[in-house]
Amino acid sequence: MTESSTGRSIGGGFVPSGQLQLGVFFQGVNSGTIWKSPDSGSQTDFESFRRIAQTAERGLFAAFFLGEGLRLREHLGRPHALDVAGRPDAQTMLAALASVTSHIGLVATQNTTYNDPADLAHRLSTLDLLSGGRAAWNVVTTDNAWTGANFRRGGYLDHADRYVHAEAFVETAKQTWDSWEDGAVAGSQAAGAWAAPGSARRVRHEGRHYSVDYLPRLPRSAQYRPVLFQAGDSPDGRDFAARQADVIFSAHPKLDDALDFRRDIVRRTLQAGRGANDVKIMPASEFILAATPQDAWDKKEWVRSLQIGPEQALAYLEQFWGRELQDFDPDGPLPDIDPVVEETSETRGSGFHGAKAKQLADQWRAEAKEKGLSIRQFVSARTSRGDSTFTGSYTEVADRLVDYARTGAVDGFNISPWLVPTGLDDIVNHLVPELQERGIYPTEYAGRTLRENLGLETPVRRGAAVVLKG
């Protein structure tokens, strides 16, 4: 292949599909969704969700994605006031969307730490059957006791154990979905029983963190079982994905990084005894598009100014300084006072924590001074998801995406719209046709199930239960 001469070959027997898929991530909680524009709609009304899901389906998107956070984010000990917050339960919302959509995949982010495996596997089965085989589970873990304060068990899991626990949990879920024999449900109303006796296997797991013993209540769906997404980026997270996941919701959108990430995942997937093409990769991304390049860059400036206003810029630094900084000018230099905490703690409930605060503050002050950045400019640069933003004219961005498809660096992109509910309109109306013209995007859904639309293999029913500790 010619790619090898340009250093873009993946190796390991991986074969690029030459195609891209799109997903949409309705975030609900973050600073990326603009609420200050008059066009910004409700974050909770069903119509916002319906509008985005149906627009995505019109654009032949593979998946509609919902996030989850099991405790309201806090800032300096009180709920965080500046960003969009408060969202519906993922699976309840997706069950409702299943009735007004027909092809798009419905992906629920669900936590393994504060759910019971039997209950969660059952609810995912329900979503899969209600949607005709379009359900997926984005597997996430939490270890902090802060979130545990909302649950019966409280904080009980050590950080180091989170993937051990998650993997046992996922195995239990897979056993649940393997439980029923094919054809277990009677073919006729004259049959001896509704389901043949013994046609479902009990699921048992006795472990350090949980025990399960039950008879699953649901048969398999049209896509066999829910598709599994995973987003962890640590070595443990990557190995977990290589063993268990169908799709990685990655953090590596830049082409070179994406190629490296693909190679790494192919290597780990082969090590796990799976095929080089078995795990799909869809990085998180943001698109800021317009008819001309100049319009797109102007739009980007406007988007950024609304995402990170002066209050957000100061609040961002306050998380690391551990004190109020409201007296500092957001358009001036970084605060010259030192943090009052030993260790940093980014807004509670997100992943970043634990750096030495004083060291970080010194480093940032030096960096801002060297580049001549104000507080706002500095924070905006830090939080702008630089590499994951595709800015440009429709044709320009479509041209850039051709490289991703040809090399197989990614299988598609998971787009976070910066505006709800109209944030996908220009992508579907303008970018999708450009991608189709270039032959790198579907012109119709490949099938009715998510597994078919992502080009994933159908799992094979396994025999005896696999017992994992955890």
């Binding site: 609420w35 974050q43 909770t44 069903f46 956070g69 405790r71 309201l72 009180r78 709920p79 965080h80 006031a81 500046l82 408060g86 969202r87 519906p88 339960d89 699976q91 309840t92 919302m93 069950a95 409702a96 969307l97 299943a98 009735s99 007004v100 759910n115 019971d116 039997a118 209950d119 059952h122 609810r123 059957l129 209600l130 949607s131 005709g132 304060a149 909302n150 649950f151 019966r152 409280g154 449900v185 009677a186 006729s188 109303q189 001896g192 029983a193 509704w194 389901a195 479902a200 949980y210 025990s211 013993d213 039950y214 008879l215 209540r217 649901l218 048969p219 206003g309 209050e311 957000q312």
Partner: protein, 401 residues
């Protein structure tokens, strides 16, 4: 929907001259052999098309409320052993229907109260304020083993149910109605003063809060419970908005209804009734005998077996003393057709049924005002008590942020 503050003292309820009808939609009907007489193959039960068809049939028949049973099913018998999660079935039905109130059964013993609260609030959003909660307290060992917990029995069941309802009620109030302010001038999306920690501390767990979803559209999602479940716990009589009352025969029902009314004057009363009707040219008793020949129907509820006219009379009588009746059809497809064709139109002609109006909330159907959040400052001049503490633990953490 108005936001008028709740009355300080819940008034004694006077049964409305017009009542409502609820229909239980689980499986193929309440009879264990119902699947043999359904209008679809057994393999067509567990999907969205079936939910869509049944909720639309119930809504167009004029039912006010649909309920969705949940929990483990008896294994190894001749009955249906597959069941979709009830709350998700109700959620799927939300966008499909426009007036039908959607009430899933949700267990309180082996579930996470925080998830239950969030899911029910979300159901309220996807249904436009038509959600309710049928509180269950599982005494089934299979449900305990599924989550690896010790079996809870006796008084522990009421305790779990009361605690879970209390947690939901606090979390639903934990965002005041106007907590989302979108104040561009100050850069604040939320008014943090209008968010509250729930700080629930019960015997077996504690819950911090606030909720992760804004207040439900109805403010508080109506809570239905079997009579006796929540009132077994002292001081908890106010936890349910409506009580489901059951008795072995229609005659005994009226005595039970009177007892429940006296014990919990503020709650709506819903009578439970199994129904087998003459249908398809066959009389009801013969249909029941045929079904029972496959597997006997054991039920703790009163049962009506007979003609549509006879059922119309019985319901007209019942609706004199209760706020609503929930019907459990022997065979959903068959009974629903007769109910739609003969029974509901007759009751409507006689003026016994509340009107069915699109976008009516469940609270409106029950005649309940939309309450202010318990954490909201009372409007000037209003009585201060918004919600009396229904539970001992409720006094520990009111407005504790």
């Amino acid at each position: 929907m108005s936001t008028s503050p709740d009355a300080a003292q819940a008034p004694t309820r006077v049964s409305a001259p017009q009542g409502f009808l609820a229909l239980e939609l689980d499986g193929d009907g309440a009879h264990p052999a119902a699947w043999r007489k359904a209008r679809h193959a057994p393999t067509g039960l567990l999907d969205g098309a079936r939910i869509r068809a049944t909720v639309l049939a119930a809504e167009s028949a004029g039912f006010h409320v649909a309920t969705f049973a949940d929990g483990a099913l008896p294994a190894g018998g001749a009955g249906i052993t597959g069941r979709l999660n009830a709350l998700q079935r109700a959620a799927f039905a939300g966008p499909v229907t426009s007036s039908l109130v959607l009430v899933p059964e949700v267990d309180t013993v082996y579930t996470e109260p925080f998830h239950v609260s969030t899911q029910l609030a979300s159901l309220d959003y996807v249904s436009g304020g038509r959600a309710g909660w049928l509180v269950a307290a599982s005494d089934n060992a299979a449900d305990a083993a599924a989550v690896g917990r010790e079996l809870v029995g006796g008084a522990g069941l009421a305790r779990e149910a009361v605690d879970s309802v209390e947690v939901s009620r606090r979390l639903w109030d934990s965002w005041e109605d106007d907590a989302v302010i979108r104040d561009v001038a100050t850069g604040r999306y939320l008014d943090v003063d209008k968010l509250h920690y729930a700080d629930f501390a019960g015997d077996s767990y504690s819950i911090k809060g606030p909720s992760i979803i804004p207040r439900p559209l109805q403010g508080q999602v109506p809570v239905l419970a079997p009579a006796g479940l929540l009132s077994a716990e002292p001081l908890s009589a106010g936890s349910a908005d409506a009580l489901l009352v059951s008795a072995p025969t229609p005659e005994l029902l009226s005595a039970e209804v009177a007892d429940a009314r006296a014990a919990t004057p503020s709650a709506a009363i819903i009578a439970e009734l199994d129904v087998v009707l003459d249908a398809r040219g066959q009389d009801a008793a013969a249909r029941l005998a045929e079904l029972d020949a496959h597997s006997r129907w054991e039920s703790p509820r009163a049962r009506f077996v007979g003609s549509a006219a006879g059922l119309t009379e019985l319901l007209a009588d019942l609706l004199e003393t209760v706020d609503g009746v929930r019907l459990h059809p022997a065979v959903l497809d068959v009974e629903l057709e007769e109910l739609a064709r003969l029974v509901l139109p007759a009751l409507r002609r006689r003026g016994r049924l509340a009107p069915v109006q699109p976008d009516t909330t469940f609270r409106e159907l029950l005649g309940l005002p939309r309450p202010a959040s318990r954490y909201a400052a009372p409007p000037a001049g209003a009585p201060s008590a918004v919600h009396p503490a229904a539970h001992p633990a409720a006094r520990q953490g009111e407005n504790n942020d």
